[in-house]
């Protein structure tokens, strides 16, 4: 379905959203609400965001309040998730760690969306040699397993959290680009594009005001699915020691430390693992739900 800027007889724009656009949004909201998966996913994701935003208020302790006398204590009233090997409260660290996961998840995917969507849509719309070249480059980048590529990039950039975001944005850009390109390809032949061309609009205008908005659906679906990948990737990278640095409470890093205490203090491993699981499940459900709602046939790359 195409969208046209609403113009009345005088050829001016008529308010921010057209009637048909408003209708579509209502439609979408209705379908979304009735899809259980999407709703559950949304609830989880929103809760996560709330926790992350208010983390310093929710967490009773700081992220690095060491207390050797209290090390590796089992969960108790004072420490609902127990303490770790340096006596720090795990509940606080898990809560604060949500900031890292969401920061990386949203940061990396926003970056990937920014670059990937633009590149992909341009590539799809332009076609021809430009398309071929861009796609080959994207293929080349996708030829490396994501964690491996991110690893190599991190070693070059240095082990800082912001570099993890950059590395992962780089790694996931091609996937977004590919999806955007398919969407743009499909849109290219639509009637509204032809009429825009006939009207004499420039390519840039067509791409950004006409084609782009119609590609948003599949792009967003891919994006939300990729957030969970980014969170998993960050966990793996931190596990390997290349992500967030201690004493930052990255969930992956906590699992790495907890590994040495699997037998004596399994709670050190358990709670961050659960946290990762919940976050990933949430984003996956949201992404799946979105896909169901927007268009079950939309191709997404998993």
């Amino acid at each position: 379905m195409a969208v046209e800027q609403h113009r009345d007889e005088t050829g001016e724009d008529d308010g921010f959203l057209s009637e048909s656009q408003k209708e579509r949004i209502d439609n979408f909201a209705r379908k979304f609400r009735s899809n259980t998966k999407a709703m559950v996913g949304l609830i989880i994701v929103v809760s996560l965001i709330v926790v992350a935003v208010f983390a310093p208020f929710i967490a009773p302790y700081g992220m690095n309040e060491t207390s050797i006398e209290d090390r590796t204590q089992a969960p108790s009233v004072e420490h609902p998730f127990g303490t770790d090997d340096l006596g720090r409260d795990i509940f606080s660290r898990v809560v604060l760690g949500s900031r890292i996961s969401l920061y990386v998840g949203f940061g990396a995917i926003s970056g990937a969306l920014l670059v990937g969507a633009v590149v992909g849509v341009i590539s799809g719309y332009a076609g021809g040699l430009t398309d071929e070249i861009i796609m080959r480059v994207m293929d080349a980048a996708m030829a490396f397993p994501p964690v491996l590529l991110a690893l190599t990039l991190l070693v070059v950039l240095g082990p800082e959290l912001v570099n993890v975001v950059i590395a992962l944005a780089f790694v996931y850009t091609p996937y977004i680009a590919r999806v955007s390109r398919s969407a743009a390809l499909a849109e290219r032949n639509e009637a509204y594009v032809e009429s825009a061309v006939a009207r004499g609009e420039t390519d840039t205008r067509i791409v950004f005001s006409e084609v782009f908005p119609n590609c948003m659906a599949p792009i967003l679906v891919q994006g939300s699915l990729n957030i969970s990948f980014a969170i998993l990737a960050e966990a793996s990278l931190s596990f390997l020691g290349l992500g967030a640095q201690p004493p930052r409470p990255s969930w992956g890093l906590m699992i790495n430390t907890g590994r040495g205490f699997m037998e004596t203090a399994p709670w050190m491993l358990l709670f961050p693992a659960l946290a990762i699981g919940i976050a990933v499940v949430g984003f996956n459900m949201l992404g799946d739900g979105l896909r169901d709602v927007l268009d079950p046939k939309v191709e997404a790359i998993e």
């Binding site: 030829a143 491996l148 070693v155 037998e263």
Partner: protein, 317 residues
């Protein structure tokens, strides 16, 4: 179809060329100095410079690149700076082990997920379906290394059934080798199960709602016969492509999994190489891993195309 394949191969070649560029570029920006690692902290400036010259590290970049690429074409990936052994030999030693792991994991995943997927599809939206779907969801939500750790804890530490890691060659000691294979392959397989299961399920659902199935049912054929004889055959087709993609996903996950289980495959070799700035080794490993990844994706693409009548019987992509 033929044209299609040819074009894809052509694309792959171009992509491969770009891959070598990326691999070379990335490894040459790495900070740190391999000459220093070899000689140790007490080395003098002159000895470091001499070693660097010996290793050819101070030639212009494009010359190093061309040298390397031509070597690749000959099958020569240079010599590991740290281990003083040919890179190709080091990789040839380790690669089969990673492949073994990835293949076994995929087999396990397939064995688990296809029956599960079919079962879920048949009982759509009822308890078994919901449970299986939840199960699958959890499978993809946890990082692979986490499954590895959990399996080690439960089966190796608590119950002491399997060893905690390591590797023995099957030719040396088949039993020990198999025992060591079980946990890592299962952990990986577990993580893969979800995708394959979901694909099987949705594919089955689509097929089951097709006209000819309804017809068969109307004719009075039993559920079982319907499923096994007709539906499964057709449902499996798209699943095969998912399996192929999952294999490459499995191969990609080996880096982290090999760390957890001390599996001396190419994943660990790459990690070590990166940590010691052993540039020829890093380049060799990255290229090989990328190549395998590309080939399995390519195979999956081909399979998909083969089964997609639009492509198979002519016409453009």
């Amino acid at each position: 179809m033929y044209n299609y394949v040819l074009r894809r191969v052509g694309f792959m070649a171009v992509t491969l060329f770009l891959v070598t560029l990326i691999a070379f570029a990335v490894t040459n920006i790495l900070p740190g100095d391999v000459a220093l690692v070899i000689l140790g902290p007490n080395a003098t400036e002159e000895s470091i410079a001499t070693l660097q010259a010996q290793l050819g590290l101070n030639r212009p970049l494009y010359i190093q690149y061309l040298d390397w690429v031509f070597g690749l074409l000959r099958g020569d990936m240079g010599e590991s700076l740290r281990f003083s052994e040919p890179v190709a030999a080091l990789i040839a030693e380790r690669l089969p082990r990673s492949l073994l792991l990835a293949v076994t994991a995929t087999l396990i995943a397939v064995a688990l997920s296809i029956p599960l997927g079919v079962y879920a599809a048949i009982n759509q939206n009822e308890a078994p379906d919901v449970t299986a779907s939840m199960f699958a969801f959890i499978g993809i939500s946890m990082p692979i290394f986490l499954w590895g750790l959990v399996f080690i804890l439960v089966f190796a530490v608590w119950f002491n059934i399997f060893p905690t890691g390591g590797y023995t060659s099957p030719t040396e000691n088949l039993v020990a080798s198999l025992r060591q294979l079980v946990l890592p392959a299962s952990a990986m397989g577990f993580a893969l199960t979800a995708y394959i299961m979901r694909m099987t399920r949705s594919s089955m659902l689509e097929v089951l709602s097709a006209e000819y199935i309804k017809l068969a049912r109307a004719k009075g054929m039993s559920q079982r016969v319907v499923v096994l004889r007709h539906a499964l055959k057709n449902a499996v087709i798209p699943v095969i492509t998912v399996i192929a993609f999952q294999f490459s996903y499995a191969f990609g996950g080996v880096v982290v999994l090999e760390e957890v289980f001390f599996w001396p495959g190419i994943g660990r070799l790459t990690l070590t190489a990166i940590q010691s700035r052993d540039i020829p080794l890093i380049q060799g490993c990255i290229i090989v891993v990328a190549l395998i990844y590309m080939i399995s994706n390519f195979a999956a693409d081909l399979l998909y195309a083969y089964f997609d009548p639009r492509i198979r019987y002519g016409g453009d992509e």
